[in-house]
Symmetry: C2
Subunit: 195 residues, 2 copies
């Protein structure tokens, strides 16, 4: 739905500033206060540009989150599943710690059962994102480091516990916790082969 | 803070009906609409009873969640860590699927960064709850099934991924997913010893 853009072109620059403005508006005004008009104003672009290119608040936030994740959580390729997963987890949790991503994730957690459009946009974002993250698992399987496994479940095993701390228990997510979680996930994938 | 009660006594019956009414009011009115007066009315008790015994909305919800978890998520003792963890995960996720627990958890996820009282009540609930759940891990260590480990991190490894699905990705939590997650966690604890 989003028009193809040349990186660095005028359209890409407008896209990036509108995406950033959408996340900033969510933090400032909350989901129910977020309007495309306010986003256009904050980004300094004409509102018809925003309406034509994104159409809805959900499509715009989805696009903003996808761009943000691509920039903030690059897919590592260190040659070691453990190191790749730990790098991914560190970047994902650092991204989650920002006010913008925190606002999106907490908004979805609160609204998803009551708002089918929000729920669908979030499911689509995560289906794509976990598939992209899962590349590190596919590469580990391809090079014989672990047996075949559902890639997204490995990513969920690494990201689930720190997300549980941030959203539910309120316990701090330390680097030790991320390392220990990652180590246990990798040991589980190896242990399952030998067990 | 909550007065000791004899099980089955009049005070315990009042406690149970006020706890149930608090969760029902949260579902019906949301956190900002929840008042102790409305809870008392729904439970059919005098409002001074509720004010005297619980004092605040957060203390009442904390108490209601503790009672609910005790009743809905019993601590299993099957003699097998894998079976204990899977029984715990099944009960915890069934409990999370109810409208009442869902409302509490999503409210906390949305409000914790903006409301220190909500955040503190939730942290206290989970610190206690994860310690109680951790008994199954302590017993497995005591009988030599696994090496010493931080019990709460094992519970977080089992509950984190399904909570991540419910609150974040929207993917359904199937029994196969709970089993596979539990199996990988237990394989990780055993693999770590051998690795």
């Amino acid at each position: 739905m989003v028009r193809a853009t040349r990186p660095g072109g005028r359209s890409a620059k407008v896209g990036a500033s509108v995406q950033a403005a959408a996340l900033a508006e969510l933090v400032a005004s909350g989901y129910h206060g977020l309007t495309l008009d306010a986003v256009a104003h904050r980004a300094g672009v004409h509102k018809t540009t925003v309406y034509r290119r994104w159409g809805t608040r959900e499509a715009l936030l989805h696009d903003a989150m996808r761009a943000r994740a691509q920039a903030a959580v690059p897919i590592p390729d260190t040659g070691s599943l453990r190191d790749d997963l730990l790098a991914l987890a560190r970047a994902a949790i650092a991204n989650l710690a920002t006010p913008e991503v925190q606002a999106v994730v907490r908004t979805v957690a609160a609204l998803a059962p009551h708002d089918a459009t929000v729920a669908a946009a979030s499911r689509a974002f995560w289906a794509e994102r976990l598939a992209v993250d899962g590349e590190v698992v596919e590469r580990a399987v391809a090079r014989g480091e672990i047996a075949a496994v559902e890639p997204r479940e490995v990513i969920e095993a690494v990201l689930g516990p720190p997300y549980f701390r941030v959203l539910v228990t309120g316990e701090p997510v330390t680097d030790e916790f991320l390392s220990a979680t990652t180590d246990r996930v990798v040991a589980g994938l190896r242990g399952a082969e030998r067990g």
